[in-house]
């Protein structure tokens, strides 16, 4: 069992090593190694899962080796298998395998095909390092490495300035968040034990022992939450995710929808014991999540790029998950993470299939794809309906679970969640009606090859049945110690929530149909009627402007330039130049003694002799 657990981690690493060392000029080797590595990991995870089910394996299973071993400081590297990490591993390796296979078709003609699969394998390893981590340092290492792989993959087409900038932006925004995250980890460690030699990073030990008194837990919780705010692109650090769509579509599907951005949510689940006990932090978490869900859905309303619509939708759904966790709904949040991985990966891959077939991603220039790309359209539709939360697709159940928790805990966030559900239905409907129905606008697509369609079918099937796999029970079984049943709004409450949300989704879809399908009013007229809010949303709430103003005008102009000024004027000219001038002045002054006239020297010589003699005589 321990071997199986290690294999999950090492198979993708071996694949990455193989690609980088020998496969960089051998295209078939590169992609087969990457796919095989991830499939092996999936197989191992599945076997562990089945063993856990049958009782042959007692969870949690933890195995470690000492990565740094100094007196008083041990940092371990290991594998932790519990229901939570198993579920996440299955999602990462399962959805990941489908996307890897799809990518062999999508990236077929790419010049840097091997490099692409090399980085994908590196990503898989890093992501699994996060998921299977036994301690905070290991998790942080995976955390940084997924950021790095994401940077490389966003910038895969580095010749495009937009792609190069987007990669840089993603990395730096995440670094800003990780500043807080790192401090949080440091403080958590520092307060993990009263005896400095007994401090630990280990998840299970921390969960078991808790923090010492006087630990400022609220501060620690908030700092740790910075990590998820960056990685899961929560407001106000969400700005990097839409730009990240410059990467190839399989990357958007895998990293910027299904797995990496969900790492923040996973982290909240992993350390749920800590956040759960801190009501102030939970309040911050739920509001950050709720506001992100709503604002991002608003942004998706006016976006015309198919992938960016999906990116905003991802932001919004991540906001849902974070909100659920903030409300105490660990099961609901993790449940939505899983189903979202299925249907959002599906949507991205279907969008990728559209881009592959038409070389266009502006929905205004698409249209009537239903006629040309029947299978792609069908799978997109399934994903879209799951995203809207139409029963009995998977998205319905997980979204219901979140709204039920919200209904029971916080009416304000419940209303925000319901409103977001309506907006989601509207923008999803808009994308569908504009791009897939009606008449073609210039672009006639061709259907994608089977290697791209089969992963679509697999993900479509998962999006349909995801609600019937017994996921909530699996997640709930992962709560250590006292099982905490969350949600519990009662049956009547559940029914009410269901009715409200279905009604709102129906309204959203209906409005989208009226505006974009039937076109009773032209969307332009609506936009004119709502000019002020529309422009506000179209400018992305001016948040990007605010940041670039800060970077260009405050950071570069004032902070960096004034340091440069101090360097030039004070240190180099002032301090160094001053000393030079002093030396030179001294030189000039002393030089006056060197008159060159022998008489003067003799005079001084005589005065000296007289002085010496007189002092000797005294």
């Amino acid at each position: 069992m321990v071997m199986l657990a290690w294999t999950i981690l090492l198979a993708p690493l071996a694949a990455a090593g193989l690609v980088w060392l020998v496969g960089i000029h051998r295209k078939p080797l590169a992609s087969s190694a990457a796919i095989l590595g991830l499939l092996i990991a999936f197989g191992c995870a599945l076997q562990l899962f089945l063993a856990g089910r049958s009782g042959a394996l007692i969870l949690p299973l933890e195995t470690n080796f000492a990565w740094i071993a100094l007196p008083g400081l041990t940092i371990q590297f290991g594998v932790l298998i519990d229901p939570l990490s198993l579920l996440m591993t299955l999602v990462v390796t399962g959805v990941g395998s489908a996307i890897f296979i799809y990518a062999t078709g999508y990236m077929h003609d790419d010049a840097a095909y091997s490099r692409f699969f090399g980085v994908l394998s590196l990503f898989a390893f890093s992501m699994l390092t996060i998921v299977l981590a036994t301690n905070w340092v290991q998790l942080f290492m995976g955390w940084e490495l997924v950021g790095f792989s994401s940077y490389l993959l966003i910038g895969h087409w580095y010749a495009k300035p937009a792609a190069a900038e987007a990669g840089k932006k993603a990395f730096i925004v995440n670094r800003v968040a990780d500043f807080g995250f790192m401090l949080g980890i440091l403080m958590l460690w520092a307060y993990s034990s009263a005896d400095p030699a007994q401090r630990t990073f280990n998840f299970l030990q921390l969960e078991h022992a808790g923090l010492v008194h006087g630990a400022m837990p609220v501060l620690i919780g908030l700092l740790l939450f910075c990590g998820p705010v960056g990685k899961s692109a929560q407001f106000p650090l969400h700005v990097w995710l839409p730009d990240a769509m410059e990467g190839p579509t399989p990357v958007s599907a895998l990293i910027h929808a299904a797995t990496m951005v969900a790492a923040g949510v996973y982290l909240l689940c992993r350390a749920f014991w800590l956040f759960e006990g801190l009501p102030e932090v939970m309040t911050v978490i739920m509001w950050v999540g709720g506001v992100t869900a709503f604002l991002a859905a608003g942004l998706a309303l006016v976006e015309n790029d198919l992938k960016r619509i999906l990116a905003y939708s991802t932001l919004s759904q991540l906001g849902y998950m974070v909100m659920a966790l903030g409300l105490g709904g660990r099961t609901a949040g993790m449940y939505h993470l899983t189903t979202h991985a299925f249907f959002k990966a599906l949507l991205f891959l279907a969008a990728g299939s559209v881009i592959h077939g038409t070389h266009e991603q502006d929905i205004r220039k698409l249209g009537g794809l239903w006629h040309d790309m029947r299978w792609t359209s069908l799978t997109f539709l399934i994903g879209a309906l799951a995203l809207c939360g139409i029963p009995p697709l998977s998205g319905f159940f997980s979204k219901e679970a979140i709204l039920t928790v919200a209904f029971a805990r916080n009416p304000a966030l419940f209303s925000l969640g319901v409103l977001t559900a309506g907006l989601t239905a509207f923008y999803t409907g808009r994308a569908w009606f504009v791009a897939f129905t009606g008449k073609a606008r210039g672009h006639h697509g061709h259907e994608s090859p089977p290697v791209m369609l089969i992963p679509l079918f697999v993900l479509a099937a998962l999006s349909i049945v995801g609600g019937f796999l017994g996921l909530p029970a699996l997640i709930a079984s992962g709560v250590h110690g006292a099982a905490a049943p969350h949600g519990g709004a009662g049956h009547a409450g559940g029914l009410l929530v269901m009715a409200v949300s279905i009604a709102v989704v129906a309204i959203g879809l209906g409005l989208a149909w009226l505006l974009y399908g039937k076109q009773v009013v032209l969307p332009g007229q609506v936009a004119r009627a709502l000019a002020l809010p529309t422009s506000f949303v179209e400018q992305r709430y001016y948040i990007d402007e605010l940041y670039s103003w800060y970077v260009l005008h405050v950071q570069q102009r004032y902070i960096a330039r004034s340091c440069e000024w101090v360097e030039q004027r004070v240190i180099i000219d002032g301090l160094v130049g001053g000393i030079t001038a002093l030396t030179r002045w001294l030189g000039f002054t002393v030089r006056l003694l060197q008159t060159g006239r022998v008489q003067a020297y003799v005079l001084v010589f005589l005065v000296g002799i007289v002085w010496l003699l007189t002092s000797a005589l005294h």
Binding site: W67, E144, P161, F171, M182, A190, H213, E564
Partner: protein, 509 residues
Amino acid sequence: MLLTILLAPTLGALALLALRDDQHAWVRRIAVIATSVPLLGALYLATHYDVARGGYQHEVFVPWVASLGIGFHLGVDGISTMLVLLHALCGFTGVLVSYSIKERVKEYYLFYLFLITGVFGVFLSLDLFFFYFFYEMAVIPMFPLIGIWGSDVKEGGKVRYSKEYATMKLTIYLTLGAVVALVGLLWLYVSTGARTFDLPALQQALAARPLDASLQRWLFPLLLIGFGVIAPMWPLHSWSPIGHAAAPSAVSMLHAGVLMKLGSYAIIRLPMTLLPAGAQFWLPWLASLCVMNIIYGGFVAMSQRDLKLIIGYSSSSHMGYVLLGLACLTPVALDGAVLLMFAHGLMTALAFALIGYFYEQTHTRYLPDLGGLAHQMPFIATCGVIAAMASSGLPGFANFVAELLIFLGGWDRYPVQIICGVFGVVITAVYMLRVVRGTFFGPALPAFAHTRDARSAFERLPYLVLVIALMVVGCWPRPFLQMIDASARPLIEHIMPVLPLAAPAEALH
């Protein structure tokens, strides 16, 4: 073994004298041999250091001037073994990178090998007299190396700093620092009354009869500032970025990679070892000063546009972490500081080697003029991304481990300074990614269509050696840290006999 390491470059330099000026191929071959022998020796040392025994090992002792207590005494402990390895790696790769030097090849390698000898001498010497002798021997060859083979720092076609200015400034700064340190050393020699320059003997004498605390407080800053100039300690750093920028690639590599570490090594080896009371008094000031190094150096790096100046200021920023690690006076932070000297040395050597590689073909390293080089040079661009990521502290590279240990080790003592240090990592990422973006990414520029990648295994060798060393130590730091710790821990326990602990609190369940 230590003699072999020290003599191989010297003998190489002497052998060069026997050659004619135009025998370039032989000059280079001799230089390669003269630096690969120490590399093998350093690898031997690193694998044969007895951690359980600790202390100075592989000692060589030849009495010289007995009346003054001067002896030729060599030996290494865990800390200096790491630095000998660093220097051997940088020296060896530097010779390979210097293959591009075309004029006055013999003289170049002559000075280069003297420089190498001097630095090895500092890391190996256990006698203050020879320590100082080798220290000066390392500083002096820099003057001709930059002045003759260097290049002016140009911005937008105009000369911002000439190489003559750079080399004068560097030499004057370092010599002044050395003189201040010499005053301190002589004062120390006289006031101990032990009449010996031998470091282990001094240590014993001072352990038996420590110097008066107030005297230690006078002596410590002389040595700290004297050696701190080369470290480089803010605000005495301004010679270094300009010096790096004007020097030829291999000299920049050694300069930023190893020479700066002479300063921090000397601070560990002499004032911290010999003057514990002085260290206790002065190092808290250093802890705050090096925050200026980190943050201020980072911001100045952000506003530079010459690649070598960016890396130069980034070096002075990152040396701030090393000094912070020293100042924390905890074993873990000191381990981190020593490992960071190693990691930063390799990373910065890699960066300067890469800049040198494409500068030769593009004839510019002015950021606004560059772009899209990844099209022509995928290998160099890959190494460039690796160097940038190592510098930003990406896990998997030794820099991450080192910075992590400094943060963990220093947290209890200087939380505010550590927070600033963690923030410095963000600043590093900003300017490093800007460099990568501006140099390698973007559309291919027609001006650089003629440039070519490093293709042959020989051309790639120096870069691969540095990258592999960074990754090996970054992925499996345990044995290296144990070696460092074997020497760092006794030193800290000597300075801080009882660690003042935070008041114990009861556990919350």
